[in-house]
């Protein structure tokens, strides 16, 4: 296998693994956060506004780890620096 095919295969495989493993943790965390917030709203309906606002902010912060993995996967697929380097070497 020449190096371009190797880079392509490893990049695509790594992108898939990145988003697959990287979304497990945030999914569990968001599920826990949402469940806790729902039970808190059920116990104290008067505080629903404050709980919802805090829930949204914390969901976004938890989600950002998944977003990091997504950005890395997108960079590997669409803007891979090694791939671009090999292509420019081949062209030049």
């Amino acid at each position: 296998m020449d190096s371009i095919a190797l880079i392509a295969a490893v990049s695509i495989f790594t992108a898939g693994i990145t988003i697959a493993i990287g979304s497990i943790g945030p999914a569990l965390g968001e599920g826990r956060a949402a469940a806790q917030a729902l039970s808190a709203i059920a116990q104290q309906p008067d505080e629903a506004n404050r709980i919802t606002r805090t829930l949204f902010v914390s969901l976004a912060m938890i989600e950002s780890t998944a977003i990091y993995c997504f950005v890395v996967a997108m960079i590997l697929i669409f803007a891979n620096p090694f791939w671009n380097y090999m292509i420019s070497q081949g062209a030049g």
Binding site: R53, F56, S64, I67, M74, A79
Partner: protein
């Protein structure tokens, strides 16, 4: 496929390449500035007001309320900065449904610039509030050895702010582009709706997080100073 609107260059203005990010940032700025100017030209404090004035009043009042609830202080001097962040990000995300418009927040350059604004604004507000010494002492909380970690925390939360907004807006654009290739007609519209929701929530979260950072730098120090003031007279007795 272009992953970032930075790569779409429309024309060159001297040495500066005018790409989609700069162009659409100007469009958003023009819309906001011209809209605000048109509306605030004839402000009325009577019972009848134009519907646009009503809209702006609701917006400003709502942002003030949110800031008051998050920071437990009067919005006063925080409102211009945090409100501007929210309005800019929200309007550029909403305009993303206009065909041909590339949201400038979908570029890492824009979001990094916004996050650096927050990074600079936090010490500015804290110093105006408490003075330079009180702000710098905050880095030595709770002990001297936490200094590197406090500095790293300051930088990493700036990175997190930038990448969170960029990743959310960019993922919306990319997913719609991929879906148009796979299922062309109905499903992308649903994802556009979801993109509108995420756009507003991300704008809200960016503004709220900026407010939380500013408030924690400006207030924890004041509380700590008050506590130490209370502590010192007690020691002799």
């Amino acid at each position: 496929m272009e992953i970032s609107p930075d790569q779409i260059v429309y024309f060159h203005l001297g040495p500066v390449a005018i790409n989609a990010t700069i162009l659409f940032t100007w469009v958003v700025m023009l819309l906001l500035t011209a809209g605000s100017w048109l509306v605030t030209r004839r402000l009325r404090d009577t019972e009848t007001m134009s519907r646009w004035q009503n809209l702006l009043e609701v917006l400003v009042e709502g942002m003030g309320d949110q800031i008051r609830e998050v920071s437990q202080t009067e919005p006063g001097r925080y409102l211009p900065f945090v409100g501007t962040l929210f309005v800019f990000i929200a309007s550029s995300n909403i305009l993303g449904i206009v065909p041909g418009f590339r949201p400038p927040t979908g570029s890492l350059s824009t979001t990094t610039a916004l996050a650096i604004c927050v990074l600079v604004a936090v010490p500015l507000y804290a110093i105006v509030e408490n003075g330079v010494a009180a702000y710098l002492r905050q880095y030595l909380q709770p002990t001297f050895f936490m200094l590197p970690f406090n500095i790293i925390g300051e930088l990493s939360r700036t990175l997190a702010l930038a990448v969170r907004l960029y990743g959310n807006v960019m993922s919306g654009t990319i997913i719609i582009a991929i879906l148009i290739g796979v299922v062309p007609f109905f499903f992308p519209i649903v994802m556009e709706l979801l993109g509108l929701l995420t756009g507003i929530i991300q704008a809200y979260i960016f503004a709220i997080l900026a407010m939380v950072y500013i408030a924690s730098a400006a207030q924890v120090e004041a509380a700590g100073a008050a506590a130490s003031d209370r502590h010192e007279p007690n020691q002799p007795s």
